[in-house]
């Protein structure tokens, strides 16, 4: 029942918020709805802790060790983002960047987006999964073009077309899985994870291999795997900052989650290592291209969009390696990255709003203008490039160990990519944080609360991973890994 609530709350919230329109209540309403969702997620977590994984609503919804923490993560980041977006979007309206009339649309779409992602995570039905992903795409397309700027429209258009095509291919893949399954399970259960997973050994390998190709190309477009990533930088850069945060921090995770689920299915059969190899290939290419693309960026948000490509590639690579260690590391990486990257976008958005530009060549001396903002920017950049004691370091360390064990040849490539990424990002960060300040001191924005919280959590991930979380990771690794 609680599962149903988790997805219904944002849906109903969307309607209400849409009705509220541009009233100021919209902001608090947004926070309230997200808080309620998060509360429901907590209830669900408690149930899982008591009774382990369970399904609901005629087996259409289910929760297991693989999606429980993703649901919590999504609900949590959705909450913090709504908190951040209150202060931030109010400022945007005040600065005249955004027409207040669109706030209703903004809040409604935000909640629908959250709803779609939660549905995608919780649904037990690969068809519903696809529908949810499509819904997420449509809602974000509107959010990306919220400012109605030419660049924004272009980005949204690119996003719409590419992800649309991608999802279409994913649908074809889903249909093929359905072929493979319905001879085994019959038409009614052939789409249910729980059933599919139990018979994954008996699905026709030939079909599953082709299906997996379509699925990884399809959902991979949404994860932003190179060379399917071309929509990602624009979409992250042009949308409002809170949306960049949830896109990078949540949507990519959800898409990757879908791929991982299908990998678990596809690698059940005789040709078990083909999906892994595909993911390793995509992952490495994305890591390298992502890292090297960082070098040439001038736009603040584009820079970190490319870093998302790199990190998603890293996670994909680790999932591809398979095995308990690598999968554990990959899940940890997903968690740490979504927390860190969202806090990075929070901070950057604040910086861009303060400096009045996204062009990094024109931003200097933030630490002098506002120490708190400057140090948060420094800290979150350090966290995203994987320096200890932040969580990403932990996951990258484990991934390197796994790589050295499973695919030693990939270690130098990973090292090069990590080094380049550090150099490219830190060069920019230093130039922005330090230097002579050009402008008056500004008061510490209240929106910094969100990144603070995230950074604290990431440090916790780096220093002492809670045992529940670790247990979930291990269980999920058992579920996914061949």
């Amino acid at each position: 029942m609680v599962l149903l609530w988790i997805i219904l709350i944002p849906l109903m919230g969307a309607v209400i918020l849409g009705a509220l329109g541009q009233r100021n209540a919209g902001f608090s309403g947004n926070i309230a709805v997200s808080a309620a969702t998060f509360f429901a997620a907590c209830l669900m977590t408690v149930q899982v802790l008591d009774g382990g994984s369970f399904t609901a609503w005629h087996h259409e919804l289910f929760v297991d060790t693989l999606n429980v923490f993703l649901v919590d993560l999504t609900a949590f980041v959705a909450l913090t983002t709504s908190v951040f977006s209150k202060a931030y979007m109010q400022a945007e309206v005040r600065l005249g960047h955004l027409n207040a009339a669109r706030l209703g649309l903004y809040h409604a779409m935000y909640q629908i987006f959250i709803f779609a992602m939660l549905l995608a995570l919780l649904c037990n039905n690969i068809g519903v999964l696809w529908i949810a992903m499509e819904a997420a795409t449509l809602s974000t397309a509107l959010l990306i073009s919220l400012y109605r700027t030419p660049a924004g429209l272009k980005a949204a258009w690119k996003y719409f077309i590419l992800c649309g095509v991608g999802l279409a291919l994913a649908l074809l893949g889903t249909i093929m899985v359905y072929f493979a399954a319905h001879s085994v399970l019959g038409p009614h259960q052939a789409l249910l994870w729980t059933r599919l997973y139990s018979v994954r050994g008996r699905l026709d390998p030939a079909i599953m291999m082709v299906a997996f190709v379509f699925l990884i190309v399809g959902y991979g477009t949404k994860v932003g795997l190179v060379p399917l990533h071309t929509w990602l930088p624009g979409a992250h850069a042009e949308g409002p900052t809170p949306i960049s945060a949830v896109l990078s921090g949540l949507l990519l995770n959800v898409a990757l989650y879908a791929i991982v689920r299908f990998k678990a299915l596809a690698s059940g059969g005789p040709m078990a290592d083909w999906p892994g190899q595909l993911m390793i290939g995509f992952g490495l290419v994305s890591v390298l291209v992502g890292a090297f693309s960082l070098g040439g960026q001038r736009d603040l948000k584009r820079l970190f969009a490319y870093s998302s490509i790199e990190h998603m590639g890293l996670a994909t690579f680790a999932f591809g390696l398979g095995g308990p260690l690598a999968t554990f590391a990959a899940l940890l990486h997903m968690t740490a990255h979504s927390l860190t990257k969202s806090s990075v976008f929070f901070t950057n958005g604040q910086v861009a709003q303060t400096a009045g530009t996204k062009d990094m060549d024109r931003i200097t001396g933030i630490v002098d203008r506002n120490p708190a903002l400057g140090w948060t920017l420094m800290a979150s950049s350090l966290a995203i490039v994987g320096t200890p004691p932040f969580g990403i370091f932990a996951s990258e360390f484990l991934i390197l160990i796994a790589a050295a064990r499973e695919a030693p040849w990939s270690v130098p490539l990973l090292l090069i990519a990590l080094g380049v990424a550090f150099a490219a990002i830190f060069r920019r960060t230093q130039a922005m944080v330090f230097g002579a300040a050009d402008g008056a001191r500004i008061p510490t924005p209240s929106s910094l609360l969100a990144p603070f919280v995230h950074l604290v959590l990431v440090v916790v991930l780096g220093l002492a991973i809670p045992h529940i979380l670790a247990a979930w990771y291990t269980g999920a690794a058992r579920l996914v890994g061949p």
């Binding site: 449509l138 272009k154 649309g164 649908l171 850069a237």
Partner: protein
């Protein structure tokens, strides 16, 4: 159900033909008509499958598809085309004959790629898979080669059509929920596209993608 597999194969062949026609067609109105034809073929095939397996939900889905893809979507597209007065697509980069050849290559490739699935046996009407795959690739090619947003969208819809085609005619349809969901997504998609077009229009006063792409990012 062997007696019914031959008409479906025929429809499949027609489907592929239409896909080719769309690839070569540059006049927008005709493109929309062709799309409507594709919808018709789709509806028929679903109806046949429904009759063969007399499953109620397939009848429903045939009805739905008919409404959506023969009447509603083409009407919407025509309206858009009129409101935005675009009749002709810009001369595409590649000459039509070359396009045809590429398309042919794609079809051959698709058939080969589909072989293992067909070999997997237990599916009725193997040929369909290959044809569906081929038309997917063809519509992708069309999206690549077309220069105005509207015709790109038509390509996208054609792509989606071929998916439905394969879904219904090969496995006698997915469960009801899914089909409704997919249909819903399509409708919403079209509406959002409409909204988009007008924004794009007011920003770039043209639907020519190159105008959009001329701006650096």
């Amino acid at each position: 159900m062997t007696p019914w597999s031959s008409p479906i194969d025929l429809l499949a062949a027609l489907f592929l033909l239409v896909a080719f026609a769309m690839l070569s067609q540059r006049r927008l109105a005709n493109l929309i008509t062709l799309y409507a034809w594709q919808g018709t073929i789709l509806t028929f095939s679903i109806a046949i499958v429904a009759y063969a397996t007399d499953s109620a939900h397939l009848y429903a889905s045939a009805l739905l598809t008919g409404l959506l893809k023969i009447l509603l979507v083409p009407a919407l597209l025509r309206r858009l085309a009129r409101r935005l007065d675009v009749q002709w697509d810009r001369e595409s980069l590649v000459q039509i004959p070359t396009v045809m050849l590429i398309g042919l290559g794609l079809v051959i490739f698709a058939f080969n790629a589909a072989l293992p699935i067909a070999a997997a046996g237990h599916i009725a009407n193997h040929a369909i898979v290959g044809i569906a795959l081929a038309s997917v690739l063809l519509s992708l090619l069309m999206m690549i080669l077309r220069a105005t947003a509207l015709s790109q969208v038509i390509g996208f819809l054609a792509l989606e059509n071929s998916l439905i085609f394969v879904a219904t005619s090969v496995t006698y349809g997915m469960p009801m929920v899914i089909e409704f969901g997919i249909a819903l997504d399509v409708i919403v998609g079209i509406f959002i596209l409409g909204v988009f077009f007008f924004h794009i229009r007011e920003q770039f006063d043209s639907l020519d993608i190159n105008h959009i792409e001329r701006r650096e990012d």
